[in-house]
Symmetry: C2
Subunit: 410 residues, 2 copies
């Protein structure tokens, strides 16, 4: 799309997530480099709302933003990167294509990890992409259908969510609300449904203040969820989760939200931490022309405490790298990356959320929920998606308890 | 759900479409009979908008309305009916369950038919349910991806739609607009895309006035579609449609919109016409307690010209049967069904439609399109779906040509 010019630097960005797209947008605005984004999917996944798709709150189209032609002047190549040759300055795609770069921005994000717990891969559903979210939704809804016709026992309606971080809390809350909604459609069996949230640590939302953790637990319990802290999972089977304490939790559906890690295949590029994140210097680089951002990056600092794997970090890093590449071109000095803490938030249900601002302020309940809602709608990339999501949420909000739930399709 | 009373008549309605749901709603309001709806899906399919799902204009959730608990006081049974025993007054489901009735309302709708044209079943995509519409959408969008990477030849971007009735015209128009939208996202290949609409008769929209037919053809051609009338299909192969004239149309995607028929399996219940419709008397009955409505019914009249297989007919018949069952209970005489012509409409594209009112009035272009839009939004069963559909259409409308298209997911 953009005119090729031998003087212009070629920037290749791998990964069309929050980090990669933010970086591309900023570079495209500067207009003095050729930018190519590579991704295996032609859409940006709005991952923070995957749990809404998994529980029937939003259609999947609402969280997939078509990325081709999304940023004027930026080329898009669909493909899976299988090799990075830093000495030859190129990347190789699965189909054999080779793309050369002057600057490489690597931003492929993270994936679910089982931490080696036996039985997770075979028996638990993960939730890191749309296919997996769809699988959870179909399982949750189809189970009601199957229990209703007698094809499955009533115990199949028990859901166990493993992992008390923001994702686990969000899923457990949304499943709980979905189960309430089902009382109207399946009055004979809905009372057998339950959701249990299991967390190994002594409280939910470990990175949050203890008061927020306690609030989240209380809110989940008000919604009818069972919360088990200090409960590490030992192993799991198709219909049972075994805790290290010896307790056995029967489950028709097991959702694993206990951890994410960077893809292991890129460990060869440098030194990694336990979550396979590549350790980068304070300019987010492995070497002069290779930048690592987002969930993949472990920035070495004095405290050596890695930044959280969230969209806000990835976006700040994407902007930083775009500005740094501009500085390189202009022969200026590149300043070290410094993270500006934007606080953290987790939603529990309708008008139930916890928000912590960097100034120490904490919001709970309705105000927290509205700020969560506003922020997510604001960050949804596409105008079309934003309109649909608002419509769907608006409807969810006004029709709570009387409106129809999503249904099993085909 | 409703209290069982030995005095109360048990009405079983097979099929949760426009006819069945209208009948159930009206019977539930009367409140003096026990109503059970049986359907193989737990949702009502809004079939008139299937083509929008097939061309990426609407997410599939928007046209599937959860039907369990949709009508207070009406029971829902999910299952596939495999046998109707009119003498024993019961129906049998696939899983062996048997439901007894006092009054049976049979409203299972229609399905696609190939009219025996060789190659249709193997090579053409049909569009009678959500799975099929999803298949068309994935094929259309994935072809762009495959041509872009070289996995498929550019000729794969040619689409042939067979059948110049309202469905074929709607699909051809929507494909044409989708292909226009793709120019921005696939600038290197989009010009190779085309859509050809093939109709055996001498004009499109045969049941409409000739002026409407001519208008539809002109509008389609303005959108860039190729319209071939007097062109009967002889046979088809994976990448070719052969016309009876000997002409061969190369095609990457073939969409068959040439005809629908009632499911053949119910022909055993009575006398049928060429489209497998059951011939019923002027009270829509096969016998005193068996009512046939909607696409399945061929009402015997003096002209013996069957009514069109559209939602408006099914809904009128559903209301009529509900009222007639009430009349039976009250010992009143049942009047003959009389169809009130509501006119007909077909949309071609954005602000392009033809509408014919029963008084002979014809609307074209923008006013026709807005009345089409209004009517469809009005008839979408669920409030939630209505909100989403309006949001999606609103966005389509304001973002035309600049907004993102739906994308291939996974």
């Amino acid at each position: 799309m953009s005119e090729t010019n031998s003087e212009r630097q070629k920037v290749v960005i791998v990964g069309a997530g929050f980090g990669g797209l933010t970086c591309a947008t900023k570079l495209a605005k500067a207009g003095n480099v050729d930018v190519t984004i590579v991704d295996r999917h032609p859409y940006q996944l709005f991952a923070p709302l995957l749990y809404q798709v998994a529980t029937g709150g939003l259609p999947e189209d609402d969280i997939a933003y078509p990325v081709r032609a999304a940023i004027p002047g930026v080329d898009f190549v669909r493909g899976e990167v299988v090799k990075v040759s830093m000495d030859a300055k190129n990347i190789r795609l699965e189909d054999g294509r080779v793309l050369y770069y002057d600057q490489l921005v690597f931003a492929v994000g993270s994936e679910g990890t089982t931490f080696g717990v036996p039985g997770v891969a075979e028996n638990a559903l993960q939730m890191k992409n749309i296919r997996e979210a769809r699988e959870i939704k179909n399982r949750l809804l189809q189970t009601y259908e199957d229990v209703e016709t007698g094809a499955k026992p009533k115990e199949a309606l028990r859901v166990v969510v493993v992992g008390g971080g923001p994702t686990g809390v969000e899923v457990a809350g949304a499943v709980s609300e979905m189960q309430r909604g089902m009382r109207r459609e399946f009055p004979n069996i809905a009372d057998f449904a339950s959701v249990t949230l299991v967390e190994a640590a002594s409280r939910l939302l470990l990175p949050f203040n203890e008061k927020s953790s306690a609030h989240a637990k209380k809110e989940l319990e008000e919604l009818g969820a069972i919360v088990k802290v200090d409960s590490a999972v030992d192993r799991m089977y198709p219909t049972d989760v075994h805790l290290k304490s010896g307790e056995v939790l029967p489950a028709g559906t097991i959702i694993w939200a206990a951890g994410v890690a960077a893809p292991k295949q890129w460990a060869e590029l440098g030194e990694t931490d336990r979550a396979n994140r590549l350790k980068v210097n304070d300019t987010l680089r492995l070497r002069d022309d290779v930048w690592i951002i987002g969930d993949m990056a472990h920035v070495i600092t004095e405290s050596d405490r890695p930044l959280p794997m969230v969209a806000s970090v990835a976006m700040q890093q994407g902007r930083y790298v775009a500005a740094s590449i501009q500085a390189l071109i202009e022969g200026k000095i590149i300043k070290a990356f410094s993270y500006k803490d934007k606080g953290q938030m987790a939603t529990i249900g309708r008008r139930r959320a916890v928000v912590e601002l960097p100034n120490g302020m904490r919001l709970h309940g309705t105000p927290a929920w509205f700020s969560w809602l506003g922020l997510h709608v604001f960050y949804l990339a596409g105008g079309r998606n934003r309109v649909s999501v608002i419509a769907d949420w608006f409807w969810n909000y006004i029709a709570w308890g009387i409106g129809p739930r999503r249904t099993v399709i085909d």
